[in-house]
Subunit: 87 residues, 2 copies
């Protein structure tokens, strides 16, 4: 499945969050990752992030697309990261 992860975490935790996401997904923009991921790896990523974030200060949103047939992605301006053909 395809996942988009956006996070808004405290400055002290940003690098850790980035490193965890980068293990499984593609960096596309500051605090935004995306990519194909297995259910198992998504669970791992969530557990790893759960250990890092401070729940009443930080926010992480996971958008999961079980099929990308009904979605697409358009970039305006600079293409900062990510793969070419995704959705």
């Amino acid at each position: 499945m395809f996942v988009i992860v956006v996070y808004d975490v405290g400055e002290k935790r940003v690098v850790k969050a980035l490193k965890r996401c980068r293990k499984y997904l593609n960096w596309v923009q500051n605090s935004v990752f995306e990519g194909e991921i297995s259910e198992a790896n998504l669970t791992k990523l969530k557990m790893e992030l759960d250990k890092i974030i401070v729940p009443d200060e930080d926010s992480v949103i996971f958008y999961t697309l079980r099929s990308t047939r009904y979605s697409d992605r358009q970039i305006m301006g600079l293409r900062k990261g990510g793969q070419d053909l995704i959705i």
Copy 2:
């Protein structure tokens, strides 16, 4: 259709970008908006943002979900914004 917009724009343009997105979508996190939007309004939003951003400095990504039947959204930590029932 449901849209997720993530932007990474220069500091001088952030407030303008935020105001344009807030006209059409729900703020959910720093530089992240989401919500149901018509094709016409999405086109308007894109045109308005296109006038604001500096293409070789700023980046805006539009994830468009024509059906939310195959997607879901999960929040970890703080729920900063957005509506309750979305996808």
